[in-house]
Homo-oligomer: 107 residues x 2
């Protein structure tokens, strides 16, 4: 059974969703803008936005036929913390053989 922490990581610790949060750190954006900037599939993005919305990591408002997304403040801070940590540990992370990187070149 999943606990709140598991659910948190499921939502937050995902490449595509985290990239969305990184973009929204700088400015509000509609789905179309995000799609272009991140170069992701439309349906994929839509699924991810819904997840982030459900978890209240972001909010949305309508503007014409577009939907404009915005990151919430607490989430923005946490994103910054993670970015900082990644920078500090980058060297070691890239060497950690347990993670998938290692498997490349072994096929």
């Amino acid at each position: 059974m999943k606990n709140a922490t598991d659910l948190f990581f499921d939502a937050f610790a995902n490449r595509n969703r985290f990239n969305i949060l990184m973009q929204l750190k700088n400015k509000e954006m509609c789905a179309g803008d995000l799609q272009q900037t991140l170069g992701v599939e439309q349906t994929n993005l839509s699924h991810d936005l819904k997840c982030l919305l459900n978890c209240k990591f972001i909010s949305v408002r309508k503007e014409g036929r577009k939907r404009v997304y915005r990151i919430n403040n607490e989430t923005k801070e946490l994103v910054d913390e993670v970015v900082k940590h990644v920078k500090n540990y980058e060297t070691y992370l890239k060497k950690c053989g347990i993670l998938k990187e290692e498997k490349n070149g072994r096929i």
Copy 2:
């Protein structure tokens, strides 16, 4: 291709590995203690400890035939941040239908 952030989440955002970090926040522990406290498989734990070590989220020293693990300070702080965030968003996380919780009871 994976970047440093992906690798970070692979290592950090995992139920078992995060539980290990949570335990080590309070005190140093050897593998056997962790196994008992967390109720996990021995080999599984060993894999996870190696991952955390490689990433330098924890360190280890020998003591007789045991190995005593310790969390590093920066990682401890990040764990605290996450715990705080989870507490704040718990309600929404549990309602997010995208995450697996929803699938239970559907089979």
